[in-house]
Symmetry: D2
Subunit: 102 residues, 4 copies
């Protein structure tokens, strides 16, 4: 995700404000997570306002979460690729027998 | 993020269970977001249990969110790269004068 | 919180739909939590759009979370008073020496 | 919810630290919301580790959210009863025809 982190950094770097504080970014992440939840309830929940084929809004809400994580990562020098590799290693290690194989 | 989506799909495809339902994945995403929040409060909040230099746990919690988003995206045929491009276009379009430039 | 649970039940009972499914209510709770986060960032975060004295919106967002919890509790026969008593007992028991006393 | 707010205040008032900052409490609320989500997925989601009758853990997680909201409310002089009344008024006003009546 080096490319995504770099794109976000180039955008933020134009502005005086720079990155927000960690707990400010966290509050924003909670807000974005809530927007994805609302969108999913509109598609799969009790209200069903939207057809299941229309996926653009979900895609955009999911991407807003990734954008926010890139902000957090850049501001704290996190390497999301390294974190993701660690997550996959955990899948193939600790969690490999957690579910029944095909 | 094609590569991340593919890695997650290869792992999930080994198992009978397959992808969870959208609102189940959403609940998991909320759980993972909560774990990142806890980690940030340990680093930057009132408890300050951890040194600011130690970033591995934050990196891993952020990556668990990305992993969960890849599950959601794969199960609903979302293209996270397209969503991310849309997010960046919004930054350079609608939001370009939202903050003061350097 | 018997009174709040009862008020919510009287309102929901008028409608054919009844209570949503647990994971649907959970997604709604995530959405409401996100709205409170946004409101707090407007007041105390980087954007500071609002004066600290203006508390009505925060009060309303916090109450929407309580309303949603009452829906969950009613649909699953949870007694929020009993849960709250348990939380307070934990404070005076397990957590009583967690912070320095005055 | 005057009583719950008062109980929380009596407990917090014993300690030097006092209430956390708003965005710190928000991060904690996100963490507690995540714990409720995990508990709901254990009961109603793909893992189904727990019987539906066992409700104590859900009750306690829901109450931890209420406890955290009381902390936020006390630290910012919010009146949760007033907020809840506003939420119910909205139900009987703006939202009264949102769903089909019995």
């Amino acid at each position: 995700m080096k490319d995504q982190q770099k794109q976000v950094d180039e955008w933020v770097s134009q502005y005086k404000m720079g990155y927000w504080q960690p707990l400010e970014i966290m509050a924003r992440l909670t807000e974005e997570t809530g927007e994805l939840a609302r969108e999913l309830n509109h598609r799969f929940g009790p209200k069903k306002k939207k057809a299941e084929e229309d996926t653009a809004d979900l895609e955009n809400e999911a991407a807003d979460i990734i954008f926010t994580l890139c902000c957090l990562a850049n501001s704290l020098n996190l390497d999301l690729d390294r974190g993701f590799k660690h997550a996959m290693d955990k899948c193939y290690g600790r969690d490999k027998d957690r579910f029944e194989k095909k």
